[in-house]
Symmetry: C2
Amino acid sequence: MKTILLDHGSGGRASQELIGELFLRYLDNPILHRLEDSAVLESQTGRLAFSTDSYVVDPIFFPGGNIGELAVNGTINDLAMRGANPLCLSLGLILEEGLPVADLEKIIASIAEATKAAGVPVVTGDTKVVPRGKADKIFINTSGIGVVEPDCEITADRAREGDRIILSGSLADHGITILTRRAGLEVTGELKSDTMALHTLVGQLTRELPGAVHTLRDPTRGGLAPSLSEIAAAANLCMVLAEPAIPVRPTVAAACELMGLDPLYLANEGKCVALVAAERADEVLALMRSTREGSEAAIIGQVTAEYPGRVVLKTAIGGERLVEPLSGEPLPRIC
Amino acid sequence: MKTILLDHGSGGRASQELIGELFLRYLDNPILHRLEDSAVLESQTGRLAFSTDSYVVDPIFFPGGNIGELAVNGTINDLAMRGANPLCLSLGLILEEGLPVADLEKIIASIAEATKAAGVPVVTGDTKVVPRGKADKIFINTSGIGVVEPDCEITADRAREGDRIILSGSLADHGITILTRRAGLEVTGELKSDTMALHTLVGQLTRELPGAVHTLRDPTRGGLAPSLSEIAAAANLCMVLAEPAIPVRPTVAAACELMGLDPLYLANEGKCVALVAAERADEVLALMRSTREGSEAAIIGQVTAEYPGRVVLKTAIGGERLVEPLSGEPLPRIC
């Protein structure tokens, strides 16, 4: 097995080989091991969260990670943004004929590592192979199931006037890493993806400070601006950001400047934005900062009734500008 | 909106437009409507089944269906094969830039029809767009959650010596339809895909004849031969098929002959094979035949201890041959 052949997707012997030698070797657990048409989990009680995401990032390997761990962390984070405790993931692979098996193995190993670190196993999977030129190396779909505690309600329309807007760390790391890499740009200083699972951080928040967080989003594709626009629209409120308070690493800021990109519109893969009752903002910030994932958290703005449905940026020199939902530049295959 | 642009996958305004004008228009329901990062379902109690499948079929429209309903029925069937009652689906789309929106709309409309007919809603989704030439029109991932009743145990390793092998209808319709279409062959008589959801049929079996069915598989990609091989391996038993008893439509048989293909190795998308306690086989067969989905069901063989782990075909003239797990011909992009 040196490269992926069409036969690896045919459901026969070669598929079995791939499953045995690669998938089970790295991802094995008692549920996945059965290899039935669907996984059956232990009995659950409670509200279920369910999420899906396909990952088509280009390049598939990038500083700070690869498409595999991105797919694990991304779907875990989508579950966590509803306050859910992630239970398990599915893994759907679409492989291009000719993909080096060594590349696939690196990706599967990194999926295994990410699922182990997160404590969220892959319990069911599927692999398709398409002829050369009909896909680009590898596309990954992960779907996930989580359990939401009865008293936990975290949705966009629970945002309230006065809420503080807290960002869990620096902005735009993932997006600028992918884009500079794709442009072949040499940037001084280290740029790397922030891909990271946030469910532990969110779990601490919901357990230790119940009710404090009204809304959570992970500003992935499109970045912070469209995420906040969506919340503004759902809650019919205005999100006011204080530009100087938004943490952006100097190297990221420099690369954005160089490429003419605004960090508000670049993807993040290990950050969340939380809308928090004003009187509990300091507690939430302190708790976030005490964690590895949120050590650089900052209050970056607040919710007002000024321009309902809009996002406003207050600049360092006292100016104010409306933030559009998108900059107009489509940036494909960021995640 | 005439063709899909990269911007439709960017997470901004164009994405919102696509969601509003196409996805919500056809697929709307209270859970999907929220458009949060993950769907939250009503409280569930019981064992959960979880399954995922990516669909990459070429062509995307074919006699009897299209990639959309295939993706809905396929994942519903994967859940049903564990005896689960399907609750909901996720929908992950990977679109190629330039895909006509009219084609996407046809597919989404057919997904809507299939989910309504099945009573299994799409509750969460994701859309990515990749540049022209980096995918082939559209790939669809559906994942699904189902609930398994406490006393329902349907797995490959529950097959027993003496079990009868029942096929719910005619073999190879989907596979031969795709392959003749792709080869541009004109076949006299009607060939069409059998894509169909089987959860209602399975639900009737598990409710009305509890314990009768030991094992279920839907012989999709690869066909009946590898499905039975997997069961034979898991149960360490021999699957003996009576060739004349296997229902194959005359047009399908003729097309298989023409293309040199064996119907045992061709995909089915609306059929299941059930391993059933011998003394209950007649009841199961009668119940199946009383349904729309199983009206042409037949007992096609039985489970013995003769060649453990193998599948054997007894031919019309009294011969016997070992059936290999796969014919060696990879047939890509059948589903």
